[in-house]
Symmetry: C2
Subunit: 207 residues, 2 copies
Amino acid sequence: MARKSLSQSDFIEAGTEYLRDHTLSELTMRVLGDLLGVDATACYRHFSGKAELLTAMLDTLLGQVLEAVPEVVTAPRELLEAQCVAMRRVMHDNPQLATAMVASEGQMPNALKMARRSIAALRSGGLDGDELIRSYQMIESYVMGATQFDLMEAPHNMEIRAARYGMFEDPAFVRAARSVRSVAAITEESFLAGLRILLDQCLGQSR
Amino acid sequence: MARKSLSQSDFIEAGTEYLRDHTLSELTMRVLGDLLGVDATACYRHFSGKAELLTAMLDTLLGQVLEAVPEVVTAPRELLEAQCVAMRRVMHDNPQLATAMVASEGQMPNALKMARRSIAALRSGGLDGDELIRSYQMIESYVMGATQFDLMEAPHNMEIRAARYGMFEDPAFVRAARSVRSVAAITEESFLAGLRILLDQCLGQSR
DNA sequence: ACCTGAACACCGTTCAAGT
DNA sequence: ACCTGAACACCGTTCAAGT
């Protein structure tokens, strides 16, 4: 039998790819092994367990956000908004992983990088002390939370939301519920509107 | 052996009580059976499975929110804020259930009631059409999402957040990280500040 | 150094059998 | 009508054994 000599990134990539079309609970260690033509327990030679693999997959995702928003010299307001929008888009493209986002930031270097960038932007926007922390936390909780909430039950999330709208018995919602696409559009619009309202309030209007 | 003749609410209450001191993954059907002095499979005589039980537990939680905010005649802005704050408090008191909040609203009558109340308030605040939907969705995603995010990994969530702050290498965050209590306080302040900013923008300043 | 394969201690759930 | 208890098809993970 030929040696496989797999690396961490092989498992990360195979898992992330698999989650494009499958549920998180469908990604078992046995399936992951099959994907790489290897035994179910081979993963344990590279990660302490499933949790650590998941964390590595998540951090890789955050790396994509950092790449999507190069740290060029832009106004802090624009850098922040761009980073938040990129974060949401990456999560939107990987809903299964996004909704499993964990708080174990200790092992996620890219999460740390993103946070430091945001804080630097808020600082150069004039914030400091407790106001800085409140603003940072408000934006992080909004972007991560609202996006996770909107992606819940993906890929059927917007069908489910449309069905809910239909039960509200309100003419505006019932009309919107007829088109899943319009429900999805409204969801994105409301996220972006909310983000801008919060950023405006934290950093002052810039448009 | 005496007949137990349990009802749905017995399982809901026992499970919710158990989750006060235990993780969601620790609440297995076998444990639930032990709590009620009954076989592990007895639950299937009252619920189709664990998912349906969980949904029932969640809806019971939403019922507490409805009770906490009686539908007295108040200004729409105040009703909305009170309902959002009550929602967060109930989730805060039941973090394990709150972070498992599901999108299966079809079987959650109290979720429907809450939504209709919110929509009525927004309407009497002068909103209509797509603007009404955007405002509703913005507030729902913010309250549910940010709260779920802040409660992630409870009951150690604030210790984890404090540890993160310590790694930011920013003087303001490092100072705040010395007290878990202060991190928790800042989290609540930033949630409330964000909520008020969004409500102000949707319904106009009322204070 | 890395992978295998059997094994362990769990899950949620089904179903025939009890009362 | 409701509960029991064995059983099924899974999990993640461990560990001795291979190469």
